[in-house]
């Protein structure tokens, strides 16, 4: 059950109402079996036979394959792995919580102490592009992090120093480990051979007058040139790409 929350299970389509009685039934059956075994072993019935065996039961469950941290692990798996108490971050890695973006920026912050901040990965001189319409001042900063109030002081200061933000990977679709697409390229249109399942996932063609258009993802169709990317903004729930070319449309 995702995040161990009973309320989220049904929303994910899991039959929680069926599973929980089943779990109790199996547990009760195992307890009864244990009672029978204890009775056979001692030759008598005693309601306090199991007292003090709780830790043994927990140890048996862990060695048998149950993960204390939750999740699925088959019995008879690697015992060392079964004793691995670390928090399994795989679920977190593929979702997009606030911390991930913050962590990504902290990493860049550390790196920038030793190297100059990387140049903007986006081609084209900003001076050459004239503003399209009067914009909100917040929008003019095309590279930015989520709400500054969420960030620690150091990151906030760093952000003020360097507005450019190039995340290690940009979330495009971020739901769960099975439904998750990230772009690790400088430009969305570079992601031709994305190692993940993003290959050919999105194709966009804004095309003025006929099909001599531009391809957003640069994958399909191949003869269509990719639209130059001019900006990227990542917020906790959105990844906003800006593209612009000289097309006279």
């Amino acid at each position: 059950m995702r995040w161990g929350q009973r309320r989220i299970g049904p929303l994910d389509g899991l039959p929680v109402e069926r599973v929980i009685p089943g779990v109790y039934a199996v547990s009760g059956f195992c307890s009864a079996l244990g009672g029978v075994v204890a009775t056979v072993y001692t030759g008598s019935g005693n309601p306090t036979t199991g007292t003090g065996l709780e830790l043994d039961a927990i140890a048996a469950a862990v060695i048998g394959g149950t993960l204390l941290t939750g999740g699925r692990r088959l019995p008879g798996g690697n015992p060392a792995r079964n004793l691995d108490f670390r928090y399994d971050p795989i679920g977190a890695r593929f979702r997009r919580p606030f911390e991930l973006v913050v962590v990504a920026d902290c990493r860049r912050n550390v790196a920038s102490r030793f190297h100059p901040p990387p140049a903007l990965p986006y081609p084209g001189s900003p001076a050459r592009r004239r503003p399209l319409t009067p914009r909100d001042p917040h929008e003019s900063q095309t590279h930015s992090l989520p709400d500054a109030r969420l960030l620690p002081d150091g990151v906030r200061r760093f952000r003020r120093r360097s507005p450019a933000f190039r995340p290690p990977a940009t979330p495009l679709v971020a739901h769960d480990p099975n439904f998750s697409i990230w772009s690790e390229a400088d430009h969305l249109t570079d992601d031709r051979d994305a190692a993940l399942d993003a290959r050919g996932a999105f194709a966009g063609l804004p095309h003025p007058g006929g099909w001599q258009g531009v391809s957003i993802d640069g994958i399909e169709p191949k003869e269509v040139p990719a639209l130059p990317q001019t900006g990227l903004q990542v917020t906790p729930t959105r990844s906003i790409y800006e593209f612009e070319n000289e097309s006279c449309m």
Binding site: L11, R130, L132, A201, G204, H207, S239, E244, S247, M249
Partner: protein, 68 residues
């Protein structure tokens, strides 16, 4: 032309119904640089490889009509 492409996953922790909605919204915003009105059409396609484990698996699809 100027295109703004927004991938929005409404992961709002205070609304579980929205949080678990397995949907990512793509918003296209196309503006012309000369300020004059132009006609634009957008072809947006999503690969069926997204829903399979291996590329040789079969995919079932239907065509839906939404709105008017």
């Amino acid at each position: 032309m100027h295109v703004t492409l927004t991938f929005a996953s409404p992961m709002l922790p205070d609304d579980l119904e929205i949080l678990t909605r397995p949907v990512t919204y793509l918003t296209w915003e196309v503006r012309s640089r000369d300020g004059a009105p132009h006609a634009v059409s957008i072809f947006d396609s999503t690969s069926s490889e997204l829903v399979v484990n291996k590329p040789d698996q079969k995919v079932e699809c239907t065509r839906e009509t939404m709105g008017s």
